[in-house]
Structures are given as C-alpha cells and as structure tokens.
C-alpha cells in the first residue's frame, strides 16, 4: 500500500473537522509509504469544497457534483471511491468513523477485497507496513491490527483523535467522470436534518451531556445549552434521554450513538453505563455531576461532584460567563 485516499464526508459542501484531520494524517502516511495523498469529494457542493481542501497537504483532490450522489443511497458514492482506489491500484482508504463512513467502508471491503480496521485512534508505519491502533471490546482492550493478503486497506478513523494542520502544496483538482451504464436502486425521498446548525458533536472541543437525571426536555435547553455555549461546546445526551424523546438520537453519545473525544466532557445526570462510556472515555478531561457518589461514571471521571445538577449547572454557567467577560 502506497497511496492514501481520504473519503470526504460533507453536506452540500459543508464538511467537518475530521476531514482536515484525515487530510493531514493522509500526508504523513503517504510520506511514510512513499505514495501520494488523495481526497475524494462527491455530490452537491463538491467543487468549492475541493478548492478549499487545497489548503491541506494533498497531492490530488478528485471531485464531482454528480447529483446522483445525493439522490441515491450509498451506491454512487461507493462507485466513485472504488474507481479512485482502483486507479491507484494499491491504497489505504481513510474514512471517518461515522454512520456514513462505516457504510462506505463495509461496501469497499467487498469491492476491493480489502482488509478493514475500525475506530482507529493511532496509525503507525514500520518497514512499509501499516499498524492501526483501536480500542475494542467496549474500550477494555487496545488492539493493533495490520493488513495482509490484499492491496487495499480501509481504516475508519475516530474523529478528534488526530491533529489537523493546514499546509497548501498545490493539490491538483481532478474532475471525476461519471461511470457509464450505472443505475442505482435506493432513492432518497426525503432528507431531514434534525440537529442543523449545531457544532458537530464529534468535533466539539467541549461536550456537555445530559442524562435521565435532567428529567425532561426543558433542562437541555435551559441548563445545558447555556453552559455548553459559555464553554464554546456542544450538547450531547445519554441513550436514556434520547429514548425518552427529550433530544433527537443524533445527540446520543455511546456505543450506539456518537463516539466523541473532546478536550472536556461534562456528564450531567448520567450514571455512566459501559455503553455510554464507550462513547466518551477517551475525552481529555471528564467531569461528572451526579447526586449519587457511587455511580460508575466515577470510575472514568477525573472529577465527580456529588450534588444536585439543577443547582450546580446554573451556578457553573454563571462562573464561566463571568470569567469570559472579565479582563484576563
């Protein structure tokens, strides 16, 4: 494997920080492998996004505005990525470990007869061989995997695990041509954004999450959001809160939700079930607020404050706001 190909996830040309992390990592890997770093941007808004990706150290950015990528589920997207990979002949494909990224990755395994390692937080290259480090079994073990018997490796990468560093090196823009004679079977009839305008949870530097302890939907708006905003972060939730219908599932953190690695994670009224911890235990600093001092989140947190969230959160928000407005 020599070339490195980044699958760029975006919505109408708006992408997330993970794209820049992957582009930066692709350069490092391509240098170590002696190959080139590519990115693939597909669907509406691709051309302008491709141009802005020229601020990153890629050799080539392949793009197409083909509207089939937005009208049909997955198949057109996978066709294009496959074509770029096959043209390289020998490549690693980096995709973000998100719902879409995982879908693309699974398909590519079959198309390219590829190996796959998922939720990777660290990549090393030794003697031309790639080693991928990833937490497994609900974070209880860290495995290092390598590829064998194949020209292609797929890596799904955890957002926020790698640094992003812009550097323009004059990446070539390459317009992709539409594959001939393709028809696609799954039409997207309706595409609804429920968490529009939010900072992407996965890329937020600070996540303030609420659980069943919040008791209803209102405290998410009246308590958590002001604190998250004061800290420049995003609001997340436990599954219990999403199941109760207090917040959309797109805010859920954990094994069946999003995996986040922010600098700071504040768990409010969340007990810390293992399935929740899987989604946040690699955060830099973890603070928990819970009225029960024996909850499992205490095993993962750096600081556990035992008390009533309804009193603590507003007081904390006020302190943070005060500090922000005070001259340093």
């Amino acid at each position: 494997m020599r070339d490195v190909i980044v699958f760029v996830e975006h919505r109408g040309g708006q992408t997330r920080k993970v794209t820049f992390e992957l582009a930066t990592e692709a350069r490092r890997l391509a240098d170590a492998l002696g190959g080139k770093a590519h990115a693939v941007v597909l669907g509406k808004g691709s051309e302008s996004l491709a141009k802005s990706l020229q601020n990153y150290p890629l050799n080539a950015i392949h793009y197409t505005e083909d509207s089939d990528c937005d009208r049909f589920l997955l198949e057109p997207v996978v066709d294009y990525v496959e074509a770029v990979a096959k043209a390289s002949g020998d490549a690693v494909v980096l995709v973000p470990n998100t719902m879409l990224g995982r879908d693309v990755a699974g398909r590519l395994v079959a198309r390219l007869e590829a190996g796959i390692t998922s939720d990777v937080t660290e990549i090393c290259v030794e003697n031309g061989r790639i080693g991928c480090v990833a937490p497994k079994l609900q974070g209880s073990t860290i495995t290092t995997c390598a590829f064998k018997n194949t020209a292609y490796g797929i890596i799904t990468v955890r957002p926020n695990a790698f640094a992003a560093a812009p550097q323009a090196i004059g990446a070539e823009l390459i317009a992709l041509s539409k594959p001939a004679g393709k028809s696609y079977s799954i039409a997207i009839e309706n595409d609804v954004e429920e968490a529009a305008g939010e900072i992407g949870l996965e890329e937020a530097a600070v996540v303030v999450s609420g659980g069943r302890g919040l008791g209803g939907p209102e405290p998410f708006e009246t308590l958590l959001r002001p604190l998250a905003e004061a800290l420049g972060g995003a609001v997340g939730a436990s599954r219990a809160a999403a199941d109760a219908g207090w917040v959309p599932y797109s805010l859920q953190i954990g094994q069946t939700g999003k995996v986040v690695s922010p600098q700071l994670y504040i768990a409010v009224g969340i007990s810390g079930a293992i399935q929740h911890k899987v989604g946040m235990q690699t955060a830099g600093t973890i603070v928990a607020i819970n009225r029960d001092g024996t909850v499992p989140i205490g095993e993962t947190a750096d600081l556990l404050v035992v008390g009533d969230l309804f009193q603590i959160v507003p007081a904390l928000t006020a302190l943070v706001q005060e500090a922000k407005s005070a001259p340093a």
Binding site: A110, K136, L137, S140, S185, I186, V305
Partner: protein
Amino acid sequence: MKIVVTVKLVPDLAAAKRIDPSTKRLIRTGIDTVLNPFDEYAIEAALQLKEKLPDTTVTLFSMAPESSKETFRKALAMGADDAVVLSDPGLAGSDVWATSFAATQALRKIGFDLVLSGALSDDGNTGGVPGALAENLGVPGLTNVRKIEEIADGRIRAQRETDTGYQVVVGPLPAFVTVTMAVGEPRYASLKGIMGAKKKTIATLSLQELGIEKPVGSDGAKTEVLAIDPPKSREKARIVEAPDGATGAKAIFDFLRERKLV
C-alpha cells in the same frame, strides 16, 4: 416473504472479567457467548413484519462454532422459525472480508427476500459485515433503519438514521436492511415460545457444502492482530461533595482553571 436475520455471537461483555493482568491478554475461556444485542433488535424487526405480512418466515443465520448452536434457542424462542449455522474449523480467525465472503454463499443457498441485521456488533464494533454482504449479494442495502414504513409490491420504504437527522429511502426487494435500536425493544420469549423452540430446527452448513475453496478463516483474512494491550488507566476521580450549587460550581470551575480549560 422469506426473511433471514444474520446474528453474531459475541462475548458476554457485561459478565466478562476482560484482561488477564499477568499476560495482559484477553481472557477468552470461561466467557459466555451471547447474541450480539443489536441483532436482537433485528430479530424484533423481523417478527414485527411476520405479524403484519402473511406467509412470512423468519430464519436466523449465523457463522459460528458448532458448540454454540444452542445459544440460538433463545432467539428461536422469541418467535423465529428456524436457524442455520455455518460452522467449519476453516472459518476460525475470519475477519470482515472472510466472514462476509463465506456468509454470502450461505445466504445465497438459504435464499431470501429480505435480510435483516444489527447495524453494529458488540465486540469488534466495525459494522463492516452487513455492507460487504449486501455488496457481495448484489442487493440494495438500507442501513441504520429505525422504522420500516412499508413493504408492498416488491418494494421497501424505510426511515433511516443519519448523523444529523433521518432520511426516507425506497428500494426494491430483495434487500439487505440493518436496523438501529429504535425499531423497538426485543420481545421476551413466552413460555409457549420457549417450549416450541425446543422442536425447531437448527441446521448446520460446512464450507464444503457451500463449495467454498478460497481460503477463509485466518489464512484468508485480510487483517491480523499484532498486539492486544490494556487501555491506559486513568487516575482515580477526585470526588467533591456539594451540599449546595455554589460549592459544586466552584469545585468544577477551579478544576477547569487548574487544567486550563476555562
């Protein structure tokens, strides 16, 4: 309609004491295997369809060691009709590619109008197998489905979760659908179900019966594990009692200051 639900056996993570501190290796012996919890939701979705659509059968399929066959009784007791297990020593050590390659042949042999699976597994957590299966089988794949709205006239319409919301998608059958936990809590087996499950068939298939000659298992796998380590352990949490809001807020604020987070 013939529905096949793919199910994976995973270590019972809730029960397992996971790492041997002396060897730093995963303890595999003595850990029970259970159905991947996500697949129980796929079974639930299949049984909901069986209740709605006439002449619908639900077959469970798993690639798993022969010794684990009886684990499938629990799923049969929920209401599935029968089970097929692909077991072969040659499959040990299969990765996503090898699993999906072998399972594809088995699913072709079993035949289906609809395959349902969980979107992720509890152990590897790759979620790669369903996509690779759909691709190999050459059928449309509807992923992360939270609600099957309708199956009629050879077409399926479903709502699927996305990272920012949801989509409504439509495609032809046969199809491959992965479901999320939003399809509904898996039902409990009734006493009648448990009794009935004892008489249901659990058939086995081997690689030879499927005519698979390519190496699968660890020989055919496209990935290998180089090392398994315990996670870096965090220091124990500082615990602060907060009889009132101001005390608690100050404790957190000072801590964030100390770590230069505010």
